[in-house]
Amino acid sequence: MTKKTSNIATRRTILKAGAGLGAFALTSGVAPLHFIREAHAADYCNKPTGKTVTLGFNVPQTGAYADEGADELRAYKLAVKHLNGEGDGGMLSTFKPSVLKGNGVLGKKVAFVTGDTQTKSPAARASAKRMIEKDNAVMITGGSSSGVAIAVQGLCQEAGVIFMAGLTHSNDTTGKDRRANGFRHFFNTHMSGAALGPVLEKAYGKVRNAYHLTADYTWGWSQQKSMKESTEAIGWKTTKTVKTPVGAGDFSQYITPVLNSGADVLILNHYGKDMVNSLTQAVQFGLRDKQVNGKNFEIIVPLFSRLMAQGAGDAIKGIFGSTNWNWSLKDEGSKAFVKSFGAEYGAPPSMAAHTCYVQTLLYANAAEMAGTFSPVGIVKSLEGFKFDGLGNGPTEYRAADHQCFKDVLVVRGNEKPTTKFDLLEVVEVTPRSQVEYDDKMLGGSLGPVNSKPC
C-alpha cells in the first residue's frame, strides 16, 4: 500500500514494533500456562509422558456450596504434598494396604490444575473439559453437589478419564447414573436413612408426623426418598414434602406453612448455605420451642457437616444428622489427617475435605498398584479393593457399583462445645452391615470402562 519508502521511522513502523513487542511479552507471559500437546499415539487418554502427572481438581468456588469447595481444595493440595513426599505424610503412613512411597505416583511428580464448578452442571463440565483437553489431566475429582458430580462423571466416561467423586451424597451417583470410570468414597442417602432410622426411633418415638423441605435437584429428591422410607419404616407419617430451589437464600415462605401443618418433625433435606439459612430461619421462627400433638417439635438435618454447623451457630444444638467422617474421631488415620491439616491451615478438616483427600490417595495407590494410569488398570485395582486406616475403619470399594462401604456416623449438634470446632458429637457408629444394600436396588449399570485414547 505504501508507495514511497523512507528511512525515517514512521509512526506505522514504531507501532508495528510496539505491537510486536507487546505480542511477544504476552505470549512469553502466558506460555507457562500452556502445555503443548505432544503428537503421539497414546494408548489411553492423556497418558502422562513427562516427569509429572496432572490431576484436575474441580470444586465449587462460588455458589451455595462454596465453603465446602474451598475446604476440598485445601485437602487436595495437602494430598498432593503428601504424595510428593512433602509435609508430614498425613494418612500415607496409616493407609493399609498401600504401595505409596511418597515419591509421587509411578515415579512422576503429582501436579494439579483447579477449576470452579460454580455449583452448576454446564460450568462444571466446561471446567472439566478444559482440564482434560488443555491441561491433559488424567483424573478429574471434586464436586460438592450430586447434580454436578453426575454431570462430570458422565463427561469423564465419554472422554475416557477416571472420575473420583468428591462430596456427592445422592444415591444416583453410584445408582442409576453409575459409570465404569467413576468412583465414590462418600456415603449416600440410603445409608444416611438406614443409619438415622433406629436412632430417631429411640430419641423421638414411633408416633411422629414429618414435614420435608427438600432441595429441588437429584440429591434432595434422593435424600427425601431415603428419609421417607426409613422414617415410615419406624412408624412415622409424612405430612407433606415441599421442594425448594437451590440457593434460595430466604426460606421463610417455606417455613411458615410448617407451623400450622400439624407436623411435629421438620426434616431439612438441604445442604451447604441452604441448610445454614433454612435451619437458622426455622429456629428463629420458634419451631423448636413449639409443642405439637403434645410433643416437642424437632428438626432433623440428614446430612450434617461441621462447616455447616459452624455457619448455623447455636441453631444446631441437639439436632440429629449423619456424616461421612468427623475430625473428632480417635483412630490413627483420622488423628494423622487432622494433625497434618491443622498444621497446614489452622483449622480441622471437614468431611468434604476428608473424602477428597482419601479419594486422591486411593487413586494414586490404585495407579501404583496397576503400574499404569490407564483407566482399565485403575478400575481393576480399585474394584473390590479393601483398605483401612483412612479414618472410616475397614472399607471396601464394591465392584458392582464403585461405591465404598463402611460404617456411618450418626451425629448430634453439641450442646456444650468446648472449642469453636467442637460442634458435632458422634452419637452412634452404625455398622456397615446395617447400611449395606443390594447393588441392583438402585438400578443403573456401570457399562464398559472407557480407556480409549482421546
Binding site: R11, V30, A31, Q61, G115, K129, D216, P245
Partner: protein
C-alpha cells in the same frame, strides 16, 4: 478496510472464514487452542452476531436474549432424547422453536421502545428462567439439567411407566437399528461431534451466520433497520409502519440465539436453566459493546475476548503466578503474586470489569472503533502529513462513523 462493494464483502467473508477455521493453529501460543474453548468462541460469536442484528442495527437493547439460547438448547436435547443423535434435525428444530418463542415475546415487548422494551424483555427472560428452573421441571429437569440418558428397555410391557427424563427413546435411531453402548455422543452423519469436529461444525455455522448477517446489513431491510435506529419518529411521520421490521429483526436475532443454543447442546448435550439467567443475557450485551455495536466483526471479537477471560484467566492460580514471577526476588515475587492474584482466578470478573470500563470510556464504539482509529491515523498521516497527530474527539467519532458506513469489519 474494504470498500462497500460486493467484492469487498466477499474478500471480508473469505478472510473471516480463513481466520475462523485456522483458530486451532493461530490461538495455540496464547493457550486457547483446545476444542471446548474454540467451540465457545464460535457459539458465542454466533449468539453475539444475532444479537447485533437487533441491538446494533435497530438500537433496541434486549436484555432477555438468553431465553432464546436456553429454549434452543432444551429443544435440541429433546430431539436427541426422542428422535436421533444426529445433529441436523436438532439444529433445525431449535431454530424453529426459538423463532416462534421470539415471535411471541417480540410481539408483546415491541409495543414499547427504549428502557421499557429492555425491561419487558428482561422480565420475559427471568420468567422463562424461573419456569425452566422450578415450574416446568417435567420438561426441563430443573436444577439437575436435561441430559441424554440410556435407552428405555426395548421390551417394555403395556403397563411400563416411561420416565422420559431418565430414559430415552431415540425413535429414529432405533428404526435404523443404531446400537448404543452406554450414553451415545451426538453425531453428524456418524461423525462424532465432540472435540475438534464439534468446533468445525460450529465454525461453519458461524461463517454461515456471519454471511447472512452481512447480507442483512447490506440489504434494503438492513437500511430500514438503521433508519429506525437513527430516527424512528421521522419514519412514522413519513407513513412507514416500523413494527413489522422490528419484529422481523427480533425474530431473526432470536433464531440466531436458538442456533447458538442448539450448537451448545450439540457440543455438550446437557441443557440447564442457568443458560437463561439474566447474567447470560447481560453477557451478550457486554460482548457486543466490547467488540463494537453495529459492526459485523465486533460482536465476534467481543465474544472471543470474554470467553477467553472466563476460561483462561479464571484458571490461573497462585501456583502458576509463582512460576511466572519466579525471576523476581522473593519479597517482590510475593507482592506481585498477591496483587496480580486479585485479577485472575476467581477475580477474573475484576479484570473484565476494568477492561469494559476502559473500552466504554475511551472507545465507545468498542474494539472496532479502536482499530478504526488506528487505521484512520495511518491514512490521515499518509494523505496529509500536516494533520494533527492526535485526533480530537470529534474527529474520532467522525472516523468511526465513516468507518461504519464505508464497510465496517
Amino acid at each position: 478496510m474494504f470498500g462497500n462493494s460486493v467484492r469487498g464483502d466477499w474478500i471480508l467473508l473469505l478472510v473471516f472464514s480463513v481466520v475462523v477455521l485456522t483458530l486451532p493453529i493461530t490461538l495455540a501460543p496464547i493457550g486457547a487452542a483446545y476444542p471446548d474453548l474454540l467451540q465457545k468462541f464460535a457459539i458465542f460469536g454466533l449468539f453475539a452476531i444475532g444479537f447485533n442484528i437487533l441491538f446494533g442495527l435497530t438500537g433496541y437493547l434486549s436484555f432477555g436474549h438468553a431465553a432464546f439460547l436456553g429454549v434452543g438448547s432444551y429443544a435440541s436435547v429433546w430431539v436427541f432424547k426422542l428422535f436421533t443423535m444426529d445433529v441436523l434435525p436438532a439444529v433445525m428444530f431449535s431454530i424453529l422453536i426459538a423463532g416462534i418463542f421470539a415471535l411471541v415475546i417480540g410481539y408483546v415487548s415491541l409495543r414499547r421502545s427504549g428502557i421499557y422494551f429492555s425491561i419487558l424483555t428482561l422480565a420475559f427472560a427471568q420468567m422463562s428462567y424461573n419456569l425452566a428452573y422450578s415450574v416446568l421441571t417435567p420438561l426441563t429437569n430443573g436444577e439437575t439439567a436435561l441430559q441424554i440418558r440410556q435407552l428405555a428397555p426395548a421390551d417394555r410391557g403395556p403397563d411400563y411407566v416411561l420416565n422420559l427424563l431418565d430414559e430415552d427413546l431415540r425413535l429414529v435411531d432405533q428404526m435404523f437399528g443404531v446400537v448404543e453402548h452406554g450414553i451415545p455422543i451426538t453425531n453428524l452423519f456418524s461423525l462424532k461431534m465432540s472435540g475438534y469436529p464439534g468446533f468445525y461444525f460450529c465454525a461453519v455455522l458461524l461463517i454461515i451466520g456471519f454471511f447472512i448477517a452481512m447480507r442483512i446489513s447490506r440489504s434494503n431491510f438492513g437500511m430500514m433497520l438503521r433508519a429506525i435506529k437513527s430516527n424512528q419518529t421521522r419514519l412514522n411521520y413519513t407513513g412507514i409502519n416500523t413494527r413489522p421490521y422490528l419484529l422481523a429483526a427480533f425474530v431473526i436475532s432470536g433464531m440466531y440465539a436458538g442456533l447458538a443454543g442448539a450448537s451448545m447442546a450439540v457440543t455438550d448435550p446437557l441443557a440447564g436453566a442457568e443458560r437463561m439467567q439474566w447474567t447470560a443475557s447481560g453477557e451478550v450485551v457486554l460482548m457486543t459493546i466490547l467488540g463494537g455495536v453495529g459492526t459485523l466483526l465486533g460482536p465476534v471479537l467481543g465474544a472471543a475476548i470474554i470467553k477467553y477471560f472466563e476460561n483462561i484467566f479464571s484458571s490461573i492460580n497462585t501456583g502458576i503466578l509463582e512460576n511466572l514471577f519466579s525471576f523476581l526476588p522473593s519479597g517482590l515475587q510475593e507482592v506481585f503474586v498477591v496483587v496480580v492474584g486479585m485479577f485472575v482466578g476467581s477475580g477474573w470478573h475484576l479484570t473484565l470489569g476494568l477492561l469494559f470500563m476502559i473500552i466504554v470510556i475511551f472507545l465507545p464504539g468498542g474494539m472496532m472503533e479502536g482499530f478504526a482509529r488506528l487505521f484512520g491515523l495511518f491514512r490521515r498521516n499518509k494523505n496529509d502529513p500536516a494533520a494533527p497527530a492526535a485526533a480530537s474527539g470529534e474527529a474520532a467519532t467522525e472516523t468511526s462513523r465513516e468507518q461504519k458506513t464505508s464497510g465496517e469489519g
